[in-house]
Subunit: 192 residues, 2 copies
């Protein structure tokens, strides 16, 4: 999506450790004009599908997922991050390793909000090694929901998450795919 | 706002310790149809004001603030919660005590995203003792921004936060005001 790529080029910052900071428009300050257009794009890409719920993970996924759920007129469910495992029978939970924050956490979802009748569209901000996405997919499996599609804002195509998950049969659509980033020169090369 | 009150009556659950759970539509599963109408209401209430930014705090504030920023066509900035104090000169920070989670945390905002030219509308999900809101107001003060209005989804009017802050001169508009909740009978009494 050219609009998102242009925004990343203009306002994105590459930091050491293959970190791409997009806090000016995506995950600290949020540009709703851009996110609305991203939502339109996700909906266009998946126009052949029917969804009953949009599913994401706090925190950065929420603002990206909101306009998608809004435009589709369906509920948005977000998985919560939790330090402690709190399996009281009423929660789905899965373990996620954050490479950005060098820690492990659990993602939890109340069983009330995902059920086997649901067809979900998973939305998230970044896809790199795929750990967070695998956490969400594990919860979908526990809940017996059908994952009809996955929409990602920015995929780090040079990391293995997206390719591995696609080879396992998941349909993943990323609005911006990055082949290479370089902190020294602040270079961002998009996948063509 | 009758629509929100009806939703709280229908789907809200009162738990011990004056906790009102609204996770079915506001802060775990999100009903975008309701939140869009809440955004319209905030905008109507503050139609006499001009804002340059909507300001909230992660996590539950984001989905409520998004449609407000979207409809106003202005950026949304959310404060981040941080366990550690990380004052590197590039951040505004403030301390907040969470009575729900029995812990203290810092809220931080990058200096890039709030400046003295901004007129902000603060949006949040709950107002009870006012600790989170005071954290946001402290950051606004540090950033020299003008707080032109505060919009709250649910105010626990039986706690002191709202009344204290109003007496200090802040304009706070809450879409649902609760006078009393009782866990034993799951009773919710709205302020008339």
């Amino acid at each position: 999506m050219k609009l998102l790529e242009d925004k990343i080029k203009k306002l994105g910052h590459v930091k050491e450790g293959d970190v791409l900071k997009v806090d000016a428009f995506l995950n600290h300050q949020i540009d709703p004009v851009l996110l609305d257009k991203m939502a339109d794009e996700f909906i266009k890409i998946y126009s052949d599908k029917k969804f009953t719920k949009v599913f994401t993970i706090e925190t950065s996924g929420i603002a990206i997922a909101y306009p998608v759920a809004q435009k589709l007129g369906i509920p948005l469910v977000f998985a919560k991050k939790s330090e402690s495992i709190n399996i009281d029978g009423e929660l789905y939970s899965s373990k996620v390793i954050s490479y950005t924050h060098f820690r492990e956490f659990n993602v939890i979802v109340s069983k009330k909000f995902l059920s086997e009748n649901d067809d979900v569209l998973i939305i998230d901000d970044f896809l790199a090694n795929g750990s967070a996405l695998r956490g969400l997919l594990s919860i979908c499996k526990q809940a017996n929901v059908k994952v009809e599609g996955i929409g990602i804002a920015i995929e780090k195509h040079f990391q293995k998450g997206g390719q591995e998950l696609r080879s396992e049969g998941y349909r993943i659509e990323s609005l911006a795919m990055i082949d290479k980033i370089d902190a020294k020169t602040n270079t961002i090369v998009f996948h063509k």
